[in-house]
Amino acid sequence: MNCREIHFYIDDYLSGSFSPGLREEFEGHLQSCFDCRNFADEEKNLMERMRDRAVPEPPPGYWEQLETRIGARVLADEIGKIGAEYVPSGSRAAMWRILVPLAAVLVLMFLSFSWKEPSGGMRASSFSPELIGNYSVVQMEFRADTVSVPEIMNSLLLTSPGMAGYGLIQMERLTRMGWEEF
């Protein structure tokens, strides 16, 4: 091996991915060449220090909360698409414009729950307009204790401000109707 090859293969040498034969050849050169020995030492030190540095731990409970938010965002996207398909025109359009966001909010809450609970759950691909129209069914299965309303509204706002607006109005109505868990 020559000096050029030492520079080129330094990572393979340091990571230990060389075959014993190549390793011997590499080390043979290092023993006979001061510059390369120096280079290999520096490189090794630098790499070790770079890999040592951990980033600060995020606040407690962060990962769980992140997973919930991602799940909610993804579901809001799915429902938004279905909603867009089912609001083309006609007299029922206005109804869908209210029902879809409301269903989105409710289903999100349900899903946020099931996201953490592998046994339950619902697949986004299994959503049908019947289900969205039939949002009361989803309401019954919903548990409010696992996710906060601001969290969901935040997810919705990022995805679709319009949807979030409708969702908020519907949520307020539900609260006035006595759904205290909200």
């Binding site: 520096e42 490189e43 962060y62 992140l66 997973e67 799940g71 993804v74 996207d77």
Partner: protein, 186 residues
């Protein structure tokens, strides 16, 4: 479950597979984003956005390798965009006159303290600062390969360049970092 099975199920729209992939990759993505943006809120935004986007792009994914490099690509591109949006100015490592004041402070601590544990800690901090001053593509390459330990193939796919470019970026970046470190320790 094997990563390959998870990715296959995810491509077909399996929510549980997606949730599991999020759990497996969230720390890596967060860590890359944090190293690029150096604060929790931005790292959080990048992490969340990366997974939402990979979900939207799931139909384009061909295999497991592609999945990993796509995650890396989305995360680093988003982080770079965010950096640009914040109009953060990059100072080249070569511009030593414009050294940040915090580095001066660290230097003072370094020369005053003979304690070797602290020395190691300070060395790490100086290198980190140096990485932060590299030009964007070199910086991303160093973070993905040297710091986070992804392979040259994965990094090349993520950055959309040949492996030779990854090698030369690493070569140049490490030489700069060593120079930077030597200057700081003089």
């Amino acid at each position: 479950m094997e990563l390959r099975d998870l990715v296959e199920r995810f491509i077909k729209g399996d929510q549980k597979a997606f949730a599991e992939l999020v759990r497996r990759y969230e720390r890596k993505v967060y860590s890359i984003a944090y190293r690029m943006l150096e604060n929790h809120l931005d790292a959080d935004e990048v992490t969340q956005e990366t997974f939402v986007r990979i979900y939207e792009k799931r139909h384009e994914i061909r295999d497991t390798n592609f999945f990993t490099s796509l995650i890396l690509r989305i995360a680093t591109n988003y982080a770079i965009d965010l950096l640009r949006k914040k109009q953060r100015r990059f100072i080249s490592v070569d511009d030593t006159d414009e050294m940040l004041p915090t580095v001066e402070v660290e230097m003072a601590a370094l020369t005053e303290s003979p304690d070797s544990a602290l020395l190691n800690e300070e060395l790490g901090a100086i290198i980190e600062k140096g990485i932060g001053l590299l030009p964007t593509r070199q910086r991303v390459t160093v973070i993905l390969h040297d710091v986070e330990g992804f392979s040259k193939t994965e990094v090349a796919m993520a950055m959309g360049c040949p492996e030779a470019t990854v090698r030369s970026n690493l070569h140049i970046a490490r030489a700069k970092l060593k120079k930077w470190l030597a200057k700081r320790l003089k």
